[in-house]
Symmetry: C2
Subunit: 154 residues, 2 copies
């Protein structure tokens, strides 16, 4: 359904909170209380973010989590990569090779991959810092001010 998973959604929430207090450590318990989410779920998210080195953790009493690097250096694309278990790509055939017999002479696959690259680029260009502070996104200026060639029907 062209949605990011809930874990990814929670992930951005948690990370923006960490980004707001970069000097502090937060335990799962505290984050759960502040963000009104259940502790086991937050824990799952943070463990995945840790494995992908977006957060650093300190174990033991008084331990907790903090961003592994400045919020300007963490992109939405990286958060998605950390929390979605399928590889990036809007269609199965364009994300993973060998899922279709006619892959060779399929023009559509190549075009989906172009679309993937453009979307990916958009997501690469949005940082965690952008998600916290409501500054216009870099790609917005480029894309949204152009004259529409085809009307959208939402």
């Amino acid at each position: 359904m062209l949605r990011v998973s809930k874990l990814t959604d929670y992930g951005t929430l948690v990370l923006t909170h960490l980004a707001s207090f970069p000097e502090r450590l937060f335990s799962v318990t505290e984050l759960a209380q502040v963000l009104h989410l259940n502790a086991p779920t937050i824990s799952k998210v943070l463990k995945a973010l840790g494995r992908h080195e977006l957060v650093s953790s300190v174990r033991g009493a008084h331990g907790g989590y903090a961003l592994a690097r400045p919020a300007t250096e963490i992109s939405v694309a990286q958060i998605i990569d950390a929390l979605e278990d399928q590889p990036f790509g809007l269609t199965e055939c364009s994300a993973t090779a060998g899922t279709c017999d006619i892959e060779g002479d399929c023009r559509i696959r190549a075009n989906w991959q172009r679309i993937n690259a453009v979307v990916r680029r958009v997501l690469d260009d949005v940082s965690l810092a952008d998600m916290v502070q409501p500054t216009p996104l870099a790609t917005e200026a480029l894309l949204l001010r152009r004259t529409p060639e085809r009307k959208s029907t939402p």
Copy 2:
């Protein structure tokens, strides 16, 4: 998982085939044979595309389906709208209002909506004609040639 549904994937396949022979009608049976997909599934896709007026149909014997307008006038975004049942948006809270208690002072939601708008714009700009002929996409030139500010980690 940030994927379009399989129905949408099939939809682009079916539509590109119709686009290749704009003067002809295709029955479900014929499309199923040519595209190596099961007839009931193709039928489901075409019915949805018909309801959204992307294809026109002729009922009765010798009936079938054809594009409702030129391939240049059908966008990937329109195909997605026709075949995904959830409204467009990468997160639930940014696609639908009222799914979260703190919606008012949530800075993240607004930023997801900006991201949605940019991604949507990319998808609006790719036509069915683009999906058939391997011409560079309009947005590719704009976005992919810029100097990366942040490295992607795939």
